[in-house]
């Protein structure tokens, strides 16, 4: 092969990221007629988190990497716009937005902030939607969140959100989380259902999930810009198409995987609460301080919030038009 690409995902082979990579690898290797070879490094073999791996992409030691918005927050704080709660209303809207110019704008910003070293290739999904889950009670409205100790990663936005809802954000390392639920060090978390079931959290008492869907679990896929531009144009096209196929695969995979996860959750005695439109509006209202925080404290926050909102509005219109054409 002329080009050997090294792809890293910090998750495992049960994860949506892996599904995406398998599709990408197959697509790129076959369409390039063996000119490109993709080597997968799943887990923490080469680097263990967003900061470490993005630095490795900058160095050129890693060619392809996927992070969540939280994972890149230290390097490019504005990507957290994707974690802003209740902006993207459902899968179809999110997918429309992420397939459009929003991703190109973000590519420009990241290229600029990384000295042209890191190229955002596409944004897919990793695990569906984040929901609030806890060990204590069924949360129907923001008021029910009051006082709960909710585990978050150490990043500003999720902590602001938890605080805005009257709960207390508590940083706990992921491997200790099971025990921490059990012992009561924390009482809740904000995760997708597949992660909740993958870690068997219901066995530790995490039995109440509120489907508030506060954040789309965006997955940002990067490539070393230098290694990308080194390729001839024909090959670059194959790579770009490969990332498109990957994006489609990661859009689809969580939908398929969550069916079993939800069934298992119920079987394990879990309570699923689906908020009414009124409940959801209450959550959105309670989350207002997060928007203010984002616009004020994050560099170009105003701009990114406006962009995502307008792209979402555009998508809603597109989808509405499609509905109008398709329903009748």
């Amino acid at each position: 092969a002329d080009y050997k690409l090294r792809a890293v995902a910090n998750s495992n082979e049960n994860d949506e990221d892996y599904d995406g990579l398998v599709v990408f690898k197959d697509f790129v290797e076959s369409r390039s007629n063996g000119k490109v070879e993709v080597e997968l490094f799943i887990g923490t073999q080469l680097c263990a988190n967003g900061t470490e791996c993005l630095q490795a992409v900058e160095d050129g030691s890693v060619d392809i990497y996927i992070s969540t918005a939280g994972g890149a927050a230290n390097m490019y704080p504005y990507v957290q716009v994707l974690d802003l709660p209740y902006v993207l209303s459902d899968d179809r809207i999110a997918e429309t937005v992420l397939s459009g110019d929003f991703t190109r704008e973000m590519r420009k910003a990241i290229l600029k902030d990384s000295d042209d070293k890191i190229r955002l290739m596409t944004i897919g999904n990793t695990g569906g939607w984040r929901n609030f889950a806890n060990t204590k009670r069924v949360v129907k409205t923001p008021a029910d969140m009051k006082g709960l100790k909710i585990r978050t990663v150490v990043a500003d936005l999720p902590q602001e959100l938890v605080k805005a809802l009257g709960a207390s954000p508590t940083p706990i390392p992921w491997p200790e989380l099971f025990t921490s639920f059990q012992t009561g060090v924390v009482e809740g978390s904000k995760n997708g259902i597949t992660d909740i079931m993958g870690m068997k959290f219901p066995e530790a008492g995490l039995k109440n999930v509120t489907l508030d869907g506060h954040a789309y679990m965006s997955a940002l896929w990067y490539m070393s810009n230098e290694n990308f531009l080194k390729m001839d144009e024909e090959t670059r096209k194959v790579i770009v198409d490969g990332f498109d196929a990957l994006q489609q695969a990661t859009f689809a995979s969580p939908k398929r995987k969550s069916i079993k996860a939800y069934a298992d959750f119920k079987k394990a005695g879990g309570n699923l609460y689906v908020p009414t439109p009124a409940d959801k509006a209450a959550f959105k209202a309670a989350a207002q301080p997060v928007y203010t925080w984002f616009k004020k404290s994050v560099k170009d926050g105003e701009k990114w919030y406006a962009l995502l909102s307008s792209e979402a509005a555009k998508a809603e219109k597109e989808v509405a038009a499609a509905h109008a054409a398709d329903i009748n």
């Binding site: 900061t51 630095q55 230290n74 100790k149 150490v154 500003d156 207390s168 954000p169 940083p171």
Partner: protein, 184 residues
């Protein structure tokens, strides 16, 4: 040989002061690490209000603690090695082998030092997750770590060189500082 001895002596003196300075800061950092974590426990468990920064701050102190005393650890032989082969070799050959390994280690440390400087410089583009500080100021501990180890390594090379080509008795180990306490 006399030049070598003078050179070595100068370097020994320099290293002694450099390492002592590092140690006198490092122990305070240990104290700060402990304090951060106790504050974290207190706020979460007693006040039911977890703070985001203590963990990351304690980690930064730990990296600096390591950077400041790694040279001392290296100089006083805390880096474990298998001495087996050396026991069976004639003393001169053993010394030459030791010298070669030290030179190899020196090359490694030089490379690490250069990489650490780059690492530091690029660290201005990332900030700590829970407080407003470029990570570069944490990363700076790495050039300090490998730089001081490199200084110690050069000292070890010079000394071993003197022992191979001169009279071993003229090149004794440096005096180890007293870290003992008045035990009961």
């Amino acid at each position: 040989m006399a030049t070598l001895k003078r050179l070595l002596h100068g370097l020994e003196t320099f290293n002694t002061y450099m390492l002592a300075a590092g140690r006198s800061i490092a122990w305070v950092l240990v104290l700060l690490m402990v304090s951060c974590i106790l504050v974290q426990v207190f706020f979460r468990y007693v006040l039911n209000d977890a703070l985001p920064w203590p963990e990351e701050a304690a980690r930064a102190f730990m990296i600096w603690m390591m950077g400041l005393v790694a040279g001392s650890g290296y100089r006083w032989g805390s880096f474990v090695a298998i001495d087996l082969v050396n026991d069976y070799l004639p003393s001169l050959i053993g010394r030459i082998l030791k010298l070669l390994l030290l030179i190899l280690a020196m090359v490694v440390l030089m490379q690490l030092f250069v990489l650490a400087i780059e690492f530091f410089q690029r660290g201005f583009r990332t900030r700590a997750a829970s407080f407003h500080l470029p990570r570069a100021w944490i990363y700076l501990a790495m050039p300090v770590c490998f730089g001081s180890m490199l200084m110690v390594n050069i000292e070890l090379v010079l000394r071993e060189f003197g022992r191979v080509f001169g009279n071993p008795d003229d090149f004794p180990d440096p005096v180890k500082p007293e870290l003992n306490t008045s035990a009961e």
